[in-house]
């Protein structure tokens, strides 16, 4: 439960990463580190490959080349028991929540505990309910995902991702498709989980308000240059970045090219 310090070894280190599909390179020469306990945000416009980067980091898609080290262990090459140990270090909330539709919320949150612990049913249930309580969904514990709003599904997704108390939580577009109030609530949840429980967050988003509300540090990837174009605190990037794309992004300006076409 340490505060983010720059001296500690990074919890995730991405080294010389190139990602792509077949012949098409999405991002190349990515180098960055995520520090223990921080909320780290990956920014980028639509189609810049930030979701691909996330998929790569959580081991769903193999990179073209490079390393993704979790406490020094490379997820790209880890296999068998080592890989499973690594996978249990982090939880993932998918864009749509990805809750299992045939299970109630508490069953969803309990599933990792059912599979990976030897606790009693009563105890697993209690831990799952606690996780739902932490995201404010205790009362909805017995409901099915289809009965929930989008925001509730996302929060339930976070509860499931937290079931095994992972050190890292990956969130894919937590505020996409949510109203500002719900979205702000989710931001507050992320901050409080980070502060109270020392969880490291890696968040993919392009919601400006969210970025300023949650991010300790962020990186920005660009679709044109296909690589990292900025790294730092969001306020610094907004106020001091020399890069036109970064400035445009933070000032919410339309692309001049596009503007010329649409008038």
């Amino acid at each position: 439960m340490s505060s983010p310090t720059e001296k500690q070894p990074p919890i995730i280190a991405v080294e010389d990463l190139t990602i792509g599909y077949g012949e098409r390179v999405v991002q190349k020469d990515l180098n960055f580190q995520v520090r223990r306990g921080e909320v780290f945000v990956i920014l980028g416009g639509s189609g810049s490959g930030k979701s691909s980067l996330l998929k790569c980091m959580i081991g769903l898609v193999a990179p073209v080349s490079g390393k993704i080290l979790f406490d020094g262990v490379d997820i790209v090459t880890a296999e068998g028991a080592e890989r499973l140990k690594l996978l249990n270090k982090f939880g993932v909330m998918y864009q749509s929540g990805a809750l299992f539709g045939s299970m109630s919320l508490v069953e969803n949150a309990r599933l990792p505990l059912d599979e990976f612990t030897r606790l009693d049913l009563h105890e697993r249930e209690l831990v799952a309910l606690t996780k739902l309580n932490q995201v404010g969904l205790l009362e909805a514990a017995r409901r099915m995902p289809s009965e929930l709003s989008g925001g509730m599904q996302k929060r339930a997704g976070i509860a499931r991702a937290m079931a095994l108390d992972p050190a890292i939580l990956f969130l894919d577009e937590p505020s996409a498709g949510l109203d500002p109030i719900t979205s702000a609530g989710l931001d507050r949840l992320i901050r409080s989980l980070s502060r109270d429980f020392g969880i490291t967050f890696v968040v993919v988003t392009h919601e400006l308000q969210s970025i300023f509300a949650i991010a300790d540090r962020c990186i920005m990837v660009d679709a044109e240059r296909k690589t990292l174009i900025a790294e730092g605190k969001p306020a610094e990037l907004r106020d001091h970045s020399e890069d036109p794309v970064v400035r445009q992004f933070f000032r919410r300006e339309a692309d001049p090219e596009q503007e010329r076409k649409t008038g």
């Binding site: 140990k85 299992f100 612990t117 606790l119 105890e123 309910l129 606690t130 309580n133 995902p145 108390d165």
Partner: protein, 381 residues
Amino acid sequence: MVHPVEDRPQAEVALKELAPGSAVLALSGALDVHTAAATRREISTQLAGKSFQVVEVDASRIQHGDASGMVILYELVHGRFTPGVQATLRGLRPELEKLLGAFPKPEDVQAAEHLAARKPIAVEVGMATLGLGRDFLEVVAFLGRLSIALAGVVRRPRWLRVTELARVFEKAGANALFIVSLISLLTGLIIAFEAAQPLKQFGAQIYIANMIGLVMVRELGPIMTAIVFAGRSGSAFAAELGTMKVNEELDALKTMGLDPTRFLVVQRVLAGTVAMPLLTAYSMAMGILGGVIVTKLMGFPLSLIWRQLTAALGLKDILFGIIKAVVFGTVVSGLGCYHGMHTRQGPSAVGDSATRAVVSGILLIIVIDAIFSVFAFALDI
């Protein structure tokens, strides 16, 4: 988490009895997802057979923990290990205190359980019955909409969307040729072989040709094609329209002022109605071919087989089979579309619709076939 690692820190449990009826339970080490189950067992063992009025948990030497570990402390504090006695907790690290603080109160857990209470059976039965009634009304409404849309297409042929019709026809009709041929040919062969032995006892093997002709044309041709059609295309229609429903594409059509029935259902029902008799004719021919091959192998000349076939089969038999096929085609594709349009929400909804389309399709095929048989018998067709 499933692989025990040797050097992992363990939790230790030490029970110390102070005065009679009072004890201190000291926990130390790591109390987390790896050690929680073993720690619980250890605590239960040490407490077994003893009864205390006061239990204090000394948590000051717990170095590390997570929610799965804290559940043990939570249960101690709420008296699950020591019935009637709520243990007091001291010395827990502040960060673990926070984790423990996140647990819901027992009354809140109970309140959440209460919300999920099941409905009484009478209510469930009543709701299911009302549901059946509603389904029936839905079918009637669907038939009405379909009739209106078909009438509309007759008045304005431009509404038919010929390319869509052709695409559906190709998928549901032309692409089914191979499977229908194979199944029918093999069925013809099988029936002929099976019939050969008993007919031989009466020296009536040549009548295989008559039998195959009648069976394939009047019954098996239409029925087998319809069942293949329900499995291939009825389910596909339901899944296609169901996915569109889930993706709100049907809503998009409606708000554009386009009737989904006219836009999507009409083409499928028409394609099914036309494709089924064609496929059935093909199936009849292939089944008969199977029979002919077997009869020929038994040494009968082709001319004799042909004479038997033409004597046994009349135009009315062929028409009887084809008309059945037309009805089957309309019913199966209509049912597929109906179930697709009435897909519910959720990840299994599309699958459920496809299943319902196939099951109800096959059921209706058999029921309609029975009705046809009764009429044919009564009218001596």
